[in-house]
């Protein structure tokens, strides 16, 4: 692993640890939003079981979007971003490191806490396992796309609105195949097709998002 890659990840994790409340906000949002659904929809176990995959996936998607605007804005404002781009290592490694750090702080906790909410929605064990698996494959896609959106809207006015408009549509395939896989398992079907597509989507994003992000970053700092 390259030194700049490691340096950026270590620093971002350390920064998140220094601001725990802010770092845990997406997780708290996920918890609150998912808990509100049974209250709003009604406690009927049958209904909850049916809506659970979609609700949990949408909540995960929205809570990932919460922290997106700050992904590069801070580094851009204080000059750290320029230093990263001048490190002599490829910009895509920096983009990859930022996305990985973002995933470790927001995505991974969601994956770990999702089974708990699966239980709350009375999902089957197989359904919960599939929910965790699809989130494990899907949340890195969200972090990578979030990084791309944040880089593209860097330094623009009303960038938050643009960012949501830009990133959310790109996230929809992950949402469809992620939630679809869980629904399939819940209704006793095989989720292999969904998983394959989600995996393909992850590979596609890992390959394409970092170079695009790097290009956007060097345009933004110009």
């Amino acid at each position: 692993m390259s030194r700049a890659f490691k340096a950026v990840i270590t620093r971002d994790l350390r920064l998140a640890a220094r601001r725990r409340v802010e770092a845990l906000l997406p997780l708290a949002f996920f918890g609150v939003a998912a808990s509100l659904f049974p209250l709003g929809v009604g406690p009927e176990p049958q209904t909850l079981r049916i809506i659970a995959p979609g609700v949990l996936w949408v909540c995960a998607l929205l809570s990932t979007m919460l922290s997106v605007t700050q992904l590069y804005a801070g580094d851009h404002a204080d000059g750290s971003l320029e230093q990263m781009l001048l490190s002599g290592e490829a910009g895509l490694l920096i983009a990859l490191a930022k996305a990985l750090a973002h995933w470790l702080v927001t995505g991974l906790p969601l994956v770990l806490i999702a089974p708990l909410f699966g239980l709350m929605f009375d999902m089957s064990v197989a359904g919960i396992a599939m929910l965790t698996l699809t989130l494990l494959l899907g949340t890195p896609i969200l972090s990578l796309l979030a990084g791309l959106g944040a880089a593209l809207t860097l330094g623009l006015r009303s960038s938050a609105v643009l960012l949501i408009l830009l990133v959310l549509p790109l996230c929809i395939p992950a949402l469809i195949f992620g939630a679809g896989g869980v629904v399939a398992v819940e209704s006793g079907l095989s989720a292999r097709g969904h998983l394959s597509l989600l995996g393909a989507l992850l590979i596609f994003t890992v390959l394409l998002a970092p170079p695009a992000t790097a290009a956007a970053l060097s345009i933004a700092t110009e």
Partner: protein
């Protein structure tokens, strides 16, 4: 040819040369037809009134932005082609200090050193901070520092440089007191002596005596 000479002597610093450089910000042409070179051991002092494009010029020299016309070369190779070989020998200090409020002084410096592949041993970082009189604050979060102290942390980056490199410094004397300025003068002198080169802007007269700075005046055509 240049690449060959680089291979023979990796220690010597290539020359940064500028030919016919023009910079445009929006509709305004900041400067054009700029030609100069920064040789090893040379300190170039870029002067000019506010808004004449000093910072823009430094960003062009660091390869952060692309010129409207002309070319910046590093040992005869355009910056874009020189890529990592150039960046590894560049220290760019912008107006912003590139420090994170929530990290401690030592952590901030360590991050910058690691990012640029410099010596990250605590001993060398602490020595740099000691010379800038920040040693007692090394475990303090950056947010508790004054502007002058923040500038010193950013400048500590220069003190961990060992080999000859190209320093591009935007107003390095900003917010520094007399003592800090004296340390920076000494650091610049010794850097030039060991074959490093410096391009800097400063609105105050430069006190560096050896080597005498080459003045580049912007906006007097």
């Amino acid at each position: 040819m240049t690449e060959k000479s680089l291979a023979v002597d990796p220690g010597a610093l290539p020359t940064l040369a500028v030919a016919g450089l023009a910079c445009r910000r929006g509709d305004r042409l900041l400067f054009e037809g700029l030609d100069f070179a920064v040789r090893p051991g040379q300190i170039v002092w870029v002067r000019g009134r506010n808004g004449q494009g000093k910072t823009s010029l430094l960003r062009l020299l660091a390869g952060l932005s692309a010129p409207a016309a002309g070319v910046v070369t590093w040992g005869g190779v355009p910056l874009r082609a020189a890529g990592a070989a150039f960046k590894q020998r560049l220290v760019y200090l912008a107006h912003a200090n590139a420090l994170k409020e929530d990290l401690t002084v030592l952590e901030s410096l360590q991050f910058l050193a690691r990012l640029h592949g410099r010596d990250t041993s605590v001993a060398s970082l602490e020595a740099a901070l000691r010379r800038l009189n920040l040693h007692s604050r090394r475990r303090a979060p950056v947010r508790t520092l004054s502007q002058g102290q923040r500038r010193r942390v950013a400048l500590a980056r220069l003190l961990i440089e060992t080999g000859p490199s190209l320093w591009v410094l935007d107003e390095p004397y900003d917010a520094l007191d007399a003592e800090g300025s004296a340390v920076l003068d000494a650091v610049l002198s010794s850097h030039a002596e060991r074959g490093g080169s410096v391009v800097l802007t400063s609105h105050l007269p430069l006190a560096v005596a050896r080597p005498a700075p080459t003045v580049l005046e912007l906006g007097v055509a």
